[in-house]
Subunit: 186 residues, 2 copies
DNA sequence: CATTAGTTTCAGTAATTACTGAAACAACCG
DNA sequence: CGGTTGTTTCAGTAATTACTGAAACTAATG
């Protein structure tokens, strides 16, 4: 890893580590971190040089990041190389991440749970297991719905919502007054 | 893996896979899934038998789960063995998971970012990088605060909040009316 | 305090996952 | 076309991570 300011290098290394706690491989995390802080789109060769990885490794990493829709590629005029960059706004990044993880992990799990719960349990043990799965299924559906709703909000609304934070309890106090909210069943 | 009903087996296998997408190793995921659906606490030997793992592997897995505070151990009267179980309520499980991940991943990242941002950037490139890190830092702080606030809610309030879901936009419409909310600066 | 029942640790090994370089492929250009 | 520049694929290898069995440890029991 060369020609990188120490603070940038630390950031990149940290994200590599974080990645590996999140089921994303280290170099993919590093590539993303580099693109994230870079002030201009980078081509694969520049990434290779900056991080000291093999060209093919970078290529695979970029492909993976594209499959997550976390990087965009573009061509600069007069240059045949592909240049990669991350979205300007961190919120967009977070939302994309949320959506992809939902698609890849939550949804398949829900599918499995729902399928299983269609069938009658054959024993007492299985009956209990199904009850537990039902609880999990309910929670996951709610989380999934929440996430879906977040996707739909405008960025302004999202920013607003994020600022709420410690106002949540106060918000809940008002539930009584918002009769409108309890009316429809989900 | 023996003596397990097919639907339970599928559940356990699925969670093993999920685990590996989440930086948790497969067998740890399986152990957790087994305990989660079990109708009574299990000792290490029972887990070993049910999943076909080595005794020591189970021991390490349980230790890991305990470090995440995701399983509890207890002694049954007249038996020296340790018996393991998961919390009754899925919400509690989810909250614990959220809190631990915050502690282990979000907080250290925030620490690094804040440290870095204390220093003056030395170049234009670094200046841009710092701006990006600042954005990420801000978002992470908000998310961290949100999570912290969630921890504090009662279970009833949490269940209520989860049901909101698609009511979020309607909630935001009211922001104007809730002058109380915008008063304090964060 | 020796025996038994249970748990944990750890060095060695197996399995998985990540990385590489060479070759194939693709697109552009004169 | 044939050459040039750039990208992707993939089989082999390296590195990492997970798993095991044997031994060490711990605590209760007669």
């Amino acid at each position: 890893m060369k020609n990188l300011e120490p603070s940038i290098q630390a950031f990149i290394l940290h994200f590599g580590e974080m990645g590996s706690h999140w089921g994303i491989n280290r170099t993919v995390g590093q590539i993303y971190a580099l693109l994230y802080v870079s002030d201009a789109p980078l081509n694969a060769e520049q990434i290779t040089d900056a991080l000291g990885l093999s060209r093919s490794n970078v290529s695979m990493g970029l492909k993976e990041l594209q499959s997550w829709r976390l990087v965009q590629s573009q061509h600069l005029p007069g240059d045949r190389k592909d240049y990669f960059s991350t979205p300007e706004n961190v919120l967009d990044i977070a939302l994309t991440l949320l959506e992809e993880r939902r698609k890849r992990e939550l949804d398949p799990t829900l599918t499995l749970l729902r399928q299983t719960l269609m069938e009658k349990p054959g024993s007492e043990k299985e009956k209990h297991a199904h009850e537990r799965m039902q609880q999990m299924c309910d929670l996951m559906e709610q989380v999934s719905d929440w996430a879906e709703d977040l996707q739909r909000l405008s960025r302004t609304d999202l920013e607003l919502l994020l600022k709420f934070g410690n106002k949540i309890p106060r918000l809940l106090e008002m539930k009584g007054k918002l009769s409108i909210m309890g009316k429809k069943k989900r």
